[in-house]
């Protein structure tokens, strides 16, 4: 245990992977300190799953080196497997069996004896709120219950590193909340966690460190707070009455909200302007909105539509790539 505290849970250097002509990972460096929660954030195809699969020994990297708790994933995959619990993107359970049979099978294949597996299965089922369903076939479970049973299966041997690939994808908000509560409980127990997500909010809320992946590279890293400062999580969107006013409007808004003109995105021809609320304009969305409206109105620029909305992931990434270059 003392060793796993000093050695990083994951240490990846220059990891690259191609699938045919597609570059899934183009040289990724990543260090995950033991006992922390790290999120990999990125859109579909960013390379999150490939990186996670390499760490869990399911895929071999073309180049680079990955060590899990100091053990090389290519040279000693069996030892790595004994220390990593994986909850994959697709639930790894046998639908035809009941919950208990699944946990027993997976726990015993992972190396537990029968008695230890039995005890642990009941303990985890209670922790994750599936105790009442243990003797029902998994095919009768709801999506949220499946995910939680799948998580239980990953935890049978108390792995020091838990890897979760998009654990909340496809879940309704209530199930998502339940899963997050379960993970929060594990965090309290000191389990190191690596999770992937497409949701900025999720990464911000639960991770100690967030790494943003795009096109197989990490384009931004930081604590949740640092990253949040860089990323506009809400945007103001203005449609002008006359598209020709766009240039004037950009000047007015930049002055009134102390933004640089490059931070205001102009959609050519349509008279649509967007800018992030976090981009130096103060965090109060409603205040920003009112000041923007007042600035345009006092100069006689007609506004057709004005609104505040959540930043899309793309906009957040655009903001990040901008901040990097």
């Amino acid at each position: 245990m003392s060793q796993s505290k000093t050695v990083p849970a994951v240490e990846a250097v220059g990891v690259a992977k191609n699938f045919g002509s597609v570059t899934a990972l183009g040289g990724v460096d990543l260090t995950i300190p033991a006992g922390t929660i790290t999120a990999l954030l990125g859109p579909n195809g960013a390379g999150k799953t490939t990186l996670v699969r390499i760490i869990a020994t399911l895929t071999k990297p073309d180049r680079g080196q990955v060590r899990v708790l100091g053990i090389d994933v290519v040279q000693a995959p069996a030892q790595v497997r004994a220390r990593v619990g994986l909850t994959g993107q697709y639930v790894g359970l046998d639908d035809a069996l009941n919950g208990r049979d699944n946990l027993m099978l997976i726990g015993r294949l992972a190396g537990l004896d029968r008695r230890a597996a039995q005890t642990r299965a009941v303990e985890l089922a209670e922790l994750l709120g599936v105790a009442d369903a243990l003797d029902r076939a998994v095919r009768t479970y709801s999506g949220g219950m499946r995910r939680r049973l799948d998580l239980a299966a990953s935890l049978m041997t108390r792995p020091p590193l838990l890897v979760l690939d998009e654990p909340t994808t496809g879940l309704d908000p209530a199930s998502r909340q339940q899963l997050w509560e379960a993970l929060a409980g594990l965090r309290a127990d000191g389990t190191t966690m690596l999770l992937t997500t497409q949701y900025l909010e999720e990464a911000d809320r639960f991770a100690d460190a967030v790494h943003v992946l795009r096109h197989g590279k990490i384009i931004a890293s930081g604590t949740a707070g640092q990253l949040k400062d860089k990323v506009a999580d809400r945007v103001v969107q203005i449609r002008l009455g006359r598209p020709d006013d766009a240039a004037a409007a950009v000047g007015l808004l930049a002055g009134a909200l102390s933004l640089s003109q490059s931070q205001i995105h102009v959609e050519a021809g349509s008279g649509q302007l967007t800018f992030g609320v976090g981009d130096g304009a103060g965090a109060d969305g409603a205040d920003t909105l009112l000041r923007a409206a007042a600035a345009l109105r006092s100069a006689g620029v007609a506004i057709a539509d004005l609104g505040l909305r959540q930043a899309s992931l793309d906009e957040a990434f655009l903001a990040l790539t901008g901040a990097q270059s």
């Binding site: 895929t59 030892q79 004994a82 697709y90 790894g92 035809a96 069996l97 190396g111 230890a116």
Partner: protein, 269 residues
């Protein structure tokens, strides 16, 4: 929560661990069968229907020049038993292929378990089904006048031969299915080798009666070896030749495609 509990289980790669994990995987398949007994109806009833059909259509043909075989039925039934094993074997490959693309496969790949257990566990389950099929076919055949001169020991021997032959084809089918990779293509392709093997063999007619071009293939075909071995157990006659050929085939088919299939399985898509 404490650190990873060090389980007192045999080391991965050791024979004990492989057997233990194979038993666990076999237990999974058998449990699924136990919970869904309907899945056993087809594999156990279909061979009996085929037996009745084959005997009713071909059973009264006389086999000229084969004085040691009194009636064609006595010749045909061992062929049907082996043909049935050949037709059951592709299920192993198709089942592994179905699993290979599922989340459960990734789960298994991520576990510190024996790599060979996925295949061996499946084979243990198939061995039980193959044995049940062969025993049912034998018992039904007795009602059609099939005789086993070597008695109960011979009957057990016949079941063992059918299982050994069936498993060796199962291993080959596992490798073939995982190599084909696409489930729909595999479903269409997998039964073809079994049908070819059955017809270009002594399953339904003595090798000397086959088309001349078939005869060299039929002579070394594992179906011929297995069917002839059963015939010699049932009606007497030399068993050494077919026994040697069948043993050679079982060893080759279990080891080479076996190792390749386990490697294919481990390599995720």
């Amino acid at each position: 929560m404490s650190a990873a509990t060090a389980p007192e289980i045999a080391e991965i790669g050791s024979l004990r661990r492989t057997l233990r994990d194979s038993g666990l995987v076999a237990g999974r398949y058998l449990r699924v069968l136990w919970l869904n007994p309907g899945r056993l109806i087809y594999p156990l009833v279909q061979p009996l229907i085929l037996l009745v059909l084959f005997i009713s259509v071909f059973g009264n043909l006389a086999v000229r020049g084969h004085p040691e075989v009194g009636a064609y039925r006595q010749f045909l039934i061992p062929g049907i038993i082996i043909q049935n094993a050949a037709l059951t074997a592709p299920i192993a490959g198709l089942s592994l292929l179905r699993d290979a693309g599922s989340g459960l496969a990734d789960r298994f790949r991520s576990l510190p378990m024996s790599r060979a257990a996925v295949l061996i566990g499946r084979l243990i389950c198939d061995a039980i089904v193959l044995a049940a099929q062969a025993a049912l076919l034998l018992i039904t055949s007795l009602g059609f006048g099939f005789s086993i001169s070597s008695g109960l020991a011979g009957a057990i021997g016949i079941v063992v031969i059918a299982v050994a032959f069936g498993l060796s084809i199962s291993v080959a089918s596992a490798w073939l299915a995982l190599t084909i990779h696409d489930a729909e293509t595999a479903e269409r392709v997998m039964y073809f080798p079994s049908i070819m093997l059955s017809f270009v063999s002594s399953a339904f007619a003595p090798v000397a009666f086959l088309a001349v071009w078939m005869q060299p293939i039929a002579r070394v075909n594992p179906v011929t070896a297995a069917a002839d071995l059963i015939r010699s157990l049932a009606a007497g006659g030399s068993a050494a030749g077919p026994a040697l050929l069948l043993t050679a085939w079982v060893i080759v088919l279990v080891t080479i495609p076996g190792i390749l299939a386990v490697r294919r399985w481990q390599r995720s898509p």
